[in-house]
């Protein structure tokens, strides 16, 4: 099993959800995140005083997947969140050793 993590623009979340649902992915977790990459921060002005905001608001999407779903899921996420401009974010996939559904105790793929 794999964990797909995507840190993306907040407004891309809804499109990612729709795209993954169309693939048959049954759940995901979204958290508000702050960070920066190559885009760095941005500048805000309050009563003439400039503040550099280093950490930009992002959404962090996490999805547990069976191995055979990973490539299609990554492609779907890319299509959903790519604008081509700096700040689109990153997607990465990592291995997961075990998954348990709390309610039933099911393990592995059954728990997804």
């Amino acid at each position: 099993m794999k964990l797909l993590t995507a840190v993306v623009r907040p407004h891309a979340v809804e499109e990612i959800r729709a795209a993954l649902q169309a693939l048959g992915v049954l759940g995901m977790t979204v958290t508000q995140a702050h960070g920066y990459g190559r885009q760095r921060g941005h500048t805000e002005v309050y009563r003439g005083a400039e503040y550099t905001v280093d950490f930009v608001p992002k959404a962090r999407v996490e999805v547990l997947l069976d191995d055979d779903m990973v490539d299609r899921a990554v492609d779907a996420v890319l299509v959903a969140c790519r604008t081509g401009r700096i700040g689109d974010g990153k997607v990465w996939v990592s291995s997961v050793d075990a998954v348990v559904r709390v309610r039933t105790g099911e393990r592995g793929s059954d728990a997804l």
């Binding site: 805000e44 002005v45 003439g48």
Partner: protein, 442 residues
């Protein structure tokens, strides 16, 4: 015999002005960081409580009682406002209950000292602040109110009022000196005594809730109709003139502030619009009953431009006047007081004067300048002394730890927002003798 229409408008106005203080709490609360919003709103709100008591006990009497010497201070005959329920004040034909007038003036005292919260935001201890409020209202606000607002003969035939209103004949309809220049100068002194916030000005201290700020500014704009048009002390042409002038100046000031932002920073901001509205309302406060609407438009525009540029002063001076009381209220009041010397016209108010542009020469301008300078100097010096004394004896400044962890937690054991999921910990119920110590459940 009271005039019922005049009395109704005055009572309504008092309620409008009262509402400015919670409005100010929102305006200020939105401008600070999330960890300090409760403290800032609390220091503001509590002025309604503390000043209400001071006013009843002796504040009203000292400010509006018959003068005891040289137009400097009133007597204590009306201390406690005892036995005055049937007493009326004002000119014949337009008399109003003394209690209506006292309530109206009380709300001015409340909002003026509440404005000073902007100078100590995010770092003032609660109880010492209350002591400061009592001392400051007594020693700074009350004398200035007497000088400017107490008119000869108003409180009764033969009564004597304050020197600025009756000897100097400076025009200040609703408190450009007493409220605005006073709070601006006092804010500078107070911010100097209490010192900068940790990290200012290096660290960003962004407003945490701009929607609060905008709504607060809207409430201030609304309440200001009571403040300015209510200062006509009756339901009259003069009240209507002041009302229209008030909203006109706020309008042009918003435009003025936003134009400065557009040219200087490249974008018009919501904080700028809210600040501009307040700057315009401040600017027209002294002149609202003495100028025509076109004059008010120019005064508002000037206030919006000058105040937005004046925000930079605190960085030059190195004083953390956190929410720009000096720039918005001090400078706005100064602009408003001086421009009366240009735009005042007896066409707007027969009891007023003609300024430079209406053929009155420089006579009124110098009277305005003297009143403004006196208010500024008196407020600055006495506030410095009061603030220094309170800080030395009781400690006005919160500890470094309290400030960095958030003054809301340290001073009030509360937080405004539950931003993260927190473990629900067993807590004591009021009156219980035991308290769960962190971690003791393990």
């Amino acid at each position: 015999m009271v005039d019922t229409g005049d009395t109704a408008w005055l009572l309504g106005s008092a309620a409008l002005v009262m509402f400015m203080t919670p409005g100010l709490a929102l305006f200020y609360g939105g401008m600070v960081r999330a960890k300090s919003v409760l403290n800032v709103m609390m220091l503001t709100f509590v002025c309604l409580a503390v000043v209400g008591v001071v006013w009843l006990l002796y504040g009203y009497s000292l400010a509006f009682g018959n003068d005891v010497m040289g137009g400097l201070i009133g007597n204590l005959r009306q201390a406690g406002l005892h036995g005055l329920a049937d007493t009326t004040v004002g000119p014949e034909g337009h008399r109003v209950p003394l209690f209506a007038f006292a309530a109206f003036q009380l709300m001015f005292a409340v909002i003026t000292v509440a404005l000073l919260v902007g100078a100590v935001a995010e770092r003032a201890r609660f109880w010492p602040w209350l002591v400061f409020v009592v001392a400051w209202v007594t020693l700074v606000y009350v004398p200035l109110a007497h000088w400017v607002f107490a008119f000869d003969g108003f409180a009764g035939a033969g009564t004597v009022g304050g020197w600025i209103a009756n000897r100097l004949h400076a025009l200040d309809f609703a408190g450009g000196t007493v409220v605005e220049i006073n709070s601006g100068a006092a804010a500078l002194a107070l911010a100097g005594v209490i010192g900068r916030r940790e990290g200012w000005p290096r660290q960003p201290m962004r407003p945490h809730n701009l929607p609060f700020v905008m709504f607060g500014a809207g409430l201030l704009w609304f309440g200001w109709f009571g403040f300015n048009a209510g200062s006509a002390l009756g339901a009259s042409n003069l009240a209507a003139t002041s009302f229209l002038n008030t909203t006109t100046a706020a309008a042009t000031a918003v435009v003025g502030w936003l134009l400065v932002e557009q040219f200087r920073d490249g974008t018009p901001t919501t904080l700028g619009a809210a600040s501009g509205a307040v700057a315009g309302l401040v600017g027209i406060t002294p002149g609202c009953g003495y100028v025509e609407p076109l004059g008010a438009a120019v005064i508002g525009l000037a206030a919006g431009v000058v105040c937005s540029l004046a925000v930079g002063l605190k960085y030059r001076m190195g004083v953390d006047d956190s929410l720009d009381v000096l720039a918005v209220h001090g400078m706005g009041g100064l602009v408003g007081m001086l421009l009366i010397g240009l735009f005042a016209t007896t066409g707007a108010n027969a009891a007023g004067a003609n300024g430079l542009l209406y053929g009155g020469g420089l006579d009124q301008l110098w009277r305005q300048a003297v009143a403004a300078a006196v208010a500024l100097a008196y407020s600055l010096v006495v506030t410095l002394a009061v603030a220094w004394l309170v800080d030395r004896t009781l400690g006005l400044r919160a500890s470094r730890e309290a400030e960095s962890e958030g003054i809301d937690e340290a001073e009030h054991a509360e937080s405004a927002y539950e931003l993260a999921i927190q473990p629900s910990r067993r807590t004591s119920i009021a009156g219980a003798t035991t308290r769960t110590i962190e971690g003791s459940e393990r």
